[in-house]
Symmetry: C2
Subunit: 194 residues, 2 copies
Amino acid sequence: MARWEPGARGRLRAAALELFADQGYDETTAAQIAARAGVTERTFFRHFDDKREVLFAGSEDFARAFLDGVRDAPPEAAPLDVVAHALTSVATFFPDERRDDSRGRWAVIHAHPALRERELLKLAGLAGVLATAMRERGVPDPAAVLASESAVTVFRVAFGRWLAVGEERSLVDLEREVLGELTALTTPASQVVP
Amino acid sequence: MARWEPGARGRLRAAALELFADQGYDETTAAQIAARAGVTERTFFRHFDDKREVLFAGSEDFARAFLDGVRDAPPEAAPLDVVAHALTSVATFFPDERRDDSRGRWAVIHAHPALRERELLKLAGLAGVLATAMRERGVPDPAAVLASESAVTVFRVAFGRWLAVGEERSLVDLEREVLGELTALTTPASQVVP
DNA sequence: GTCTATAGTGCGATAGAC
DNA sequence: GTCTATCGCACTATAGAC
């Protein structure tokens, strides 16, 4: 038997999610999370920069899926088509089986401002790297930033809708719908046919 | 003479901004800020829920200006026209005289992730109340949320541009420009003239 | 792994304004 | 008398330094 069980990081993440859901974020100490994962408090802080970060450790893969969608879009695609492509790509990360898990996670995060703050920072960082990727495709700068911000907004709104009770449509479908609503908003009929 | 000087809150805000700018956010303790303002650390935390909040205490007026712009827009205005109206309204809060102050504040906030996090949370809250105000105007829900999010995005981008070194155009002008870029993005020529 | 500074909270006491 | 802003002190948890 090993000196310590492997997978401490994963156990810490699971323990934190459970405890936050049961007792609330404030009422849960880092020591409690560590104890449930069978490690010391010190180990918790070696894995995660702060207490909030334990809930966001998996977000790199998510960001990469988003980014890959931008890079894999056909070269001639217009900025908003690139966005659509990226949204499709990231949706593969959230198959319907993950919907209930995502609901639990969402509830925990949105129950405490400190966790929402961290989520918003992550999403802002994502928008930043998306903008860089857009520029690398040759999209000039006002468009690159605005397209990236819009992509994140559409994802956030669609994701929220995906989690709504009773909702059964897939995330891709909802993303498409929201993206359509955004273009409809900025393109009233009077502008299409002046 | 009174037992304590009035205006402790304002002194704390000014002291915090100076110290954060001079020494950095992490290197400044709440006790230092309090000392410079002539109060105790306990008083600091009675005025502000946490150390970050001292930099964002003035943001209610800003949010109100934004909100008033939504409410004062003509009843028949389309969602994006309401957004334009709100952007004009909030720009009155940032006359050119405030540009240098805003630059200093912006530099402090963007020098530390913890402060950016708080800024993002405030802006998300703003988008939320804007959406509520839009709904009160009768704008239905996908449009209300998307218009509000877009309004905040346009403001953020325009504000960043307003602060750029050498930039001399007014915030209203820049907001109009960015809003135009957003509509251009979501309305490529092929859609306008199919 | 231990030790320490700082953030942030709870509560009683105090002093002036009304 | 009440109300409000402050102080002063004890305390826990986070987070980082050693």
